[in-house]
Symmetry: C2
Subunit: 431 residues, 2 copies
């Protein structure tokens, strides 16, 4: 059988990893694909740079777009990145030309994935993106194929390794956020500009893709509520631990009879949950299907080799002619689903306030809790160490709506005695 | 597109679950398969029995073999069970006739899977068995497709839910083996004859299939060393816990430069391992690939609905024409691999002896340990409660070969003071 000819658009960390894996494991890959996977062309900005792979006898295109026009290319691996620009143009052109696109680009897919998938379907092309969500964890294939007989009711996970690394350091070593971020940057787990990771944007892109696969809804990033991890302190981890919880940045999407709940936010996860003990830069996803029950996948969410594992897995599916529709169902059948209102979103809540410790403060807090119908399960106030120093107050509520919680938080913040913006975290239920 | 027509051979728990899932989720299944999955025929012994599914307008064949001859059947779901007899005959006949077989029958596949897969390949037929290993966990698809770009170095897991349930009760509630088995039987997690589960035979069948997928070796059940869980006592769990370990029945297969190590046995698993905290009847598998690193899947390994999830996932792949080769590579390319000798298998060991507490016993034990070059890390002896009562002695060794351990165990057993056969368990390394 003739080789399946692959082009690499981008020779950064991930692109280099793909090239290397195709060369190192060429034999097993050919055995499983039923044909050779042959790297025939690459494009990258700097031709003179040293690369981790052998580039002799591989064509070099100065422009990535040219790869989409090469008659000798069956599939293009897009690892340029970015939701717009050259990555988008390349995918559009390649799919329009009937070529396979395999990409790790979550931003592109969460933003333009519907149009790109439709383009693929219209042109008999294939669009694969296992590497776009949680790197080496085969969550896309699992949801799209393995669980295809299920109605998925919920998908949740630790979708961002940078955040999980930072939270683990804060929890285990008592580091502050800045110190933990600094360490993550030194270890190569965080970018110089960490915004996309620590503010949850990256996890939100991934969750949008998971929601689409799980519920057949159109990917709409803005419909996912978002909160990052910058405001957590070591004290929050200590208090959570005392309550029997770990704090994790959780991507969460659930379909109920009332509507769809989608959010990315730091949450208190029960220590008994498989997600609670997933530490460092590791990712994890838990899917609930009506037939399969809960299914948890844990593995490396980033790094050149793990991401290359996902990309090459996709390439092998394509080489065998066994890649399915991008979303598992025809793109035109994706629908929109009513979002669950804040009134309908119920949870127990963890609230931490920094208050000036003076007579009457607790009464003010209690009034607000009563007014907003937030029933208190635990209230704790730290002893004052020095006069005038604000002291932390922790409140754990019984189940209450996100709307009531939000109203209370606004009123807490307006109190003179409350010195920093209140922190409120969901407490995820025990299994 | 015309419907994909399915026949069910066997209407027991799993068969009923498949029929029910095909009916309940007919819409999502059709959307993902791109065509209707239509149940057209069934066979089971007792036609008069009440069933969980609607059997009107579905043909009833008194003999399962007749399903393989029906021109209106595309795929047969074999859930009769057993490595021989009607299940084997049905699969052979159906595959010879070019029909798809989807089966949950690990005993059949571990015993005759090589021949059946060859038959499928020779006749352009498809043989799928996701449900045969760990029920709803998509471990077959993950190894065969998602990780196809990897060289797998190791696969290990909790492959038997019955054993995991029993071990959890012994560990958590201090139950003895018999009491825990009794509870498992009452809860429906163990058969009236529990041999296949508690003696590790079921896990061994599954491990044989995983080894074949991981390493491309021919499935040879007898090449897997086997030890069940009957001899564990609550004290072992207590001692293990003190050492920082959980005791789990571990299926383990690893490829090294020296050869293949394959075993099913109760092991001390570090509490830091994702496998250690997988409790009750839940299954888990950890795969190590050279690119993906460690990947862990946790979920329901049995039960009608979870098993049906896997079977229907396979059926949807078949309906889309996207099921691959049974073993991921042509069956004729499966090879044999040298087994790692007992001298080459290194581990730390946990040994528990029941000894008559009299002067000189410890010296006898120490002599044997020295002679066999087993270096002691910890030795603990329980205080005697009543004269003449044997007392437990626990020995934890540094790394030593399985051969040395076996020699020492034989010599321990021969000592007059050692009252019950010595128990020796591997201690799995920390990550």
């Amino acid at each position: 059988m003739k080789p399946f000819c692959v082009a690499l658009a981008g020779l950064g960390t991930v692109g280099g990893g793909v090239g290397q894996l195709l060369q190192t494991n060429a034999n097993v890959i050919a055995a499983r694909a039923g044909r050779e996977l042959k790297l025939v062309a690459v494009s990258a900005r700097d031709r003179s740079k040293a690369r981790a792979m052998d580039l002799d006898s591989i064509a070099w295109e100065p422009s990535a777009l040219a790869l989409a026009e090469r008659p000798d290319v069956d599939a293009i691996v897009e690892v340029i990145g970015g939701a717009e620009g050259i990555a988008r143009a390349l995918c559009e052109k390649a799919l329009a030309n009937g070529k396979t696109i395999v990409t790790a680009n979550k931003a592109l897919l969460a933003t333009h994935g519907e149009r790109l998938a439709q383009l693929a379907e219209d042109n008999g092309a294939t669009l694969c993106f296992e590497a776009a969500v949680c790197g080496g964890i085969p969550i896309i294939k699992t949801m799209r194929e393995a669980l295809a007989g299920n109605r998925i009711t919920r998908v949740q996970g630790l979708l961002n390794g940078t955040c999980n690394f930072i939270l683990t350091r804060m929890s285990r070593d008592g580091m502050g956020f800045d110190e933990a971020l600094d360490l993550a940057q030194k270890r190569g787990f965080a970018e110089a500009d960490p915004t996309a990771d620590v503010d949850g944007l990256d996890a939100r892109h991934k969750l949008a893709l998971l929601s689409t696969l799980a519920f057949g809804v159109r990917p709409i990033v803005d419909s996912i509520s978002l909160e990052g991890i910058r405001r957590l302190t070591p004290l929050d981890f200590e208090l959570a631990d005392n309550l029997g919880f770990s704090i994790k940045l959780l991507g969460f999407a659930q379909r109920t009879a009332q509507g769809l709940e989608q959010r990315v936010s730091p949450c208190l996860v029960p220590l008994s949950s498989p997600l609670a003990s997933v530490d460092d830069e590791v990712n994890a996803v838990e899917i609930d299907g009506d037939a399969v029950g809960p299914l948890t996948l844990i593995g490396r969410g980033a790094g050149a080799a793990a991401t290359a594992s996902a990309i090459v897995g996709d390439l092998i599916d394509c080489a065998r002619g066994m890649a399915g529709l991008p979303w598992g169902v025809p793109t035109k059948d994706l629908s929109e689903m009513k979002a669950l209102s804040a009134e309908e979103q119920k949870s127990r809540w963890y609230i931490r306030l920094d208050v000036q410790d003076r007579a009457g403060v607790l009464a003010e807090l209690a009034d607000i809790l009563r007014d907003e119908d937030l029933s208190v399960e635990t209230l704790w106030q730290q002893a004052r160490s020095a006069a005038q120093e604000p002291v932390p107050v922790m409140i754990v509520t019984h189940e209450a709506s996100a709307a009531a919680l939000a109203r209370a938080v606004v009123r807490f913040a307006a109190l003179g005695a409350v010195r920093t913006p209140p922190l409120a975290l969901r407490i995820e239920p025990e299994l």
